[in-house]
Symmetry: C2
């Protein structure tokens, strides 16, 4: 990008969500007197007798977590979605102003490792490979349920991102309808594919290789980059170099490569502010609606809140909630910071 | 609504943003072991020598805040938007995948009162009426600038919502383009008006009067309600009972009524958890594009993060960021809680 866009307020187009993000590169000099966060600290205990995700302990619902050796899955004791529901529609008026419908779904907790003190960043690549297999297995099992249309796998990492337990774990919510975000991505990817006969995110990745300003790290199978339209300060988009529209498409090599790049991304994040880096991350596979999805590229989003230090985060408030998302550092400078962090740990 | 929707997981349609929100009424029993917030405390000093918004003090940029008596406005010393910009467009490719353009704007800070220890909730109605006049004046002045298309007035209240100073103040960001949220509301309001020859939000308010389950408080000119499609636990939408598409349309009675209802809403919020209630709030007037906007209803959104107590907030993370927004308490039960809080202070 030319100098104007590295110093001047501008807006960037997100073609995957069809919306704008406001960028204020000149604003980083702003002093911060507002709320600071308690820095995350590393967990030291490999087994915590009070943790309901550690092997052998009893959960809130009264059930016992077994003595698992690798990964372990169970239905969330306080699931946000219910399975046994009488289908119902509420339409008070005929103009669509008061409209609701029951929504069935399945919410599961996915334990990544028996050890309480590990995270994706500190697990071995082979340990993460078992987590990849867990995700693939869950996606296959849940996608096969006829009334399920979408399988959303995600991880909330760190108290700042609402994780109520530091034990390495993620979640899967499988739903009767496609949620908002993948529904938007479906529309944009389909429109692009129809017009250009190429998946949107494959074309985008090609441009990123050409400009080479926002790629953080890559291996033969996957690329981690700060998207051109990133909202969160150190947001990362994980894209496959080859074709894959959902987990079932992944080859052995893509599975290994995914484990390796997840290890790199989470470890370099921890190096940026020398603190366990909080984030929400999750995968967007194609919907499981029984159709083929040549337009869709399986990808993962990482949304980390920290901006300047272990204790100063970006607030998505006022203008961001009421107007448009806004960021201070450019995606290009964020990518440079992340690349430098990676060099320091390699 | 019938019992199904008060107990079962369901989704509700937001016709103003054309998106869904997931509601999990059965989930409130969930125990919380995650991050708790430092409760907000009331400010006691009416003048703080270190506050750059208190009369007579020097700001970060070196300028002195005058000895103002009622309200005071100045250009943000660290404005997110710049005015003197050479217009530029970045289009790396022709398929819209890497697209950016410079964005001009004006960012101002709006001090509500010289007293450091007041908030909208504790100011007099006549004091708030002066703030309403300040907003009207800013909207008029900024709308008159030919290249400005939108005037976004908002307030971030409380450290949890990114406010870096407790002194009662808000902001205005006026921009060259219409931001995402009002752009979406423009499209939905225009489509509804074209089809039904009535503004969407006026029709919606009529239904709320009919069902009477979500109205929190009202006066002759304004209604405060928890919208059917609320995302934040105690979200409020403020609507005029009569016609107004922007600040300039407001009659004297509407201005007085707005001051009165703002006082009620902010004061009852503080009563809910007996703590200064953090929130982001802001107004959505029609765009200032030189057109008339019969489709548009001027309104304000209040987005408060607290969920269960002064220290337990709702986290918009994982599924919310990657899938759809999700809430636990129903809008109907939130409205009942807010009505009860109002009765306690009246
Ligand atoms: O300008 P302030 O009050 O320092 O900043 C606050 O409001 C802005 C507008 O919503 C946000 O961009 C910032 O993240 C927030 O901290
Ligand atoms: O299910 P958990 O981990 O208790 O809950 C966490 O993740 C959920 C899904 O993103 C959110 O709805 C909750 O607000 C958050 O605290």
């Amino acid at each position: 990008m030319n100098g104007n866009f590295l110093q001047a307020s501008h807006r960037r187009w997100n073609p995957l969500r069809r919306e704008w993000v406001l960028v204020s590169p000149h604003r980083t000099a702003r002093p911060w007197q507002g709320q600071t966060e308690t820095p995350s600290v590393s967990v030291v205990l490999s087994y915590d007798p009070t943790c309901y995700l550690c092997p052998g302990n009893v959960r809130a619902g009264g059930q016992r977590t077994p003595d698992y050796q690798a990964t372990f899955t169970f239905t969330n004791d306080y699931a946000a979605l219910q399975t046994d529901l009488a289908q119902d529609i509420y339409d008070f008026d005929n103009a669509g102003l008061l409209h609701a419908e029951t929504e069935r779904g399945i919410c599961r907790v996915l334990c990544f490792d028996p050890r309480h003190d590990l995270t994706l960043a500190t697990m071995s690549v082979s340990g993460i490979r078992r987590v990849v297999d867990l995700w693939i297995g869950q996606a296959a099992e849940l996608s096969a349920i006829p009334w399920i249309q979408y399988v959303q796998i995600f991880e909330n990492r760190g108290a700042m991102m609402g994780a109520s337990n530091p034990h390495p774990h993620g979640q899967v919510w499988a739903t009767e309808h496609i949620p908002n975000e993948p529904a938007t991505e479906f529309a944009t990817q389909l429109a692009y594919f129809t017009e250009h006969a190429e998946p949107l995110l494959a074309a985008y990745l090609g441009l990123e290789f050409q400009t080479n300003q926002r790629i953080v790290t890559s291996n033969d199978q996957w690329v981690a980059l700060v998207p051109f339209w990133a909202v969160w300060p150190f947001e990362i988009l994980l894209l496959p170099t080859g074709y894959a529209s959902n987990f079932a498409d992944l080859t052995e090599a893509q599975r290994d490569g995914l484990a390796a790049i997840l290890q790199s991304v989470t470890a370099l994040y921890n190096r940026v502010f020398d603190t366990p880096f909080p984030y929400s991350m999750g995968f967007h596979p194609a919907p499981c609606d029984g159709q083929r999805h040549p337009e869709w590229t399986l990808h993962a989003h990482f949304y980390p809140p920290l901006l300047r230090s272990a204790t100063v985060r970006k607030f998505m408030v006022g203008f961001e909630l009421l107007g448009s998302p806004q960021r201070d550092i450019t995606p290009e400078s964020a990518a440079a910071t992340l690349r430098a962090a990676l060099q320091e740990i390699e």
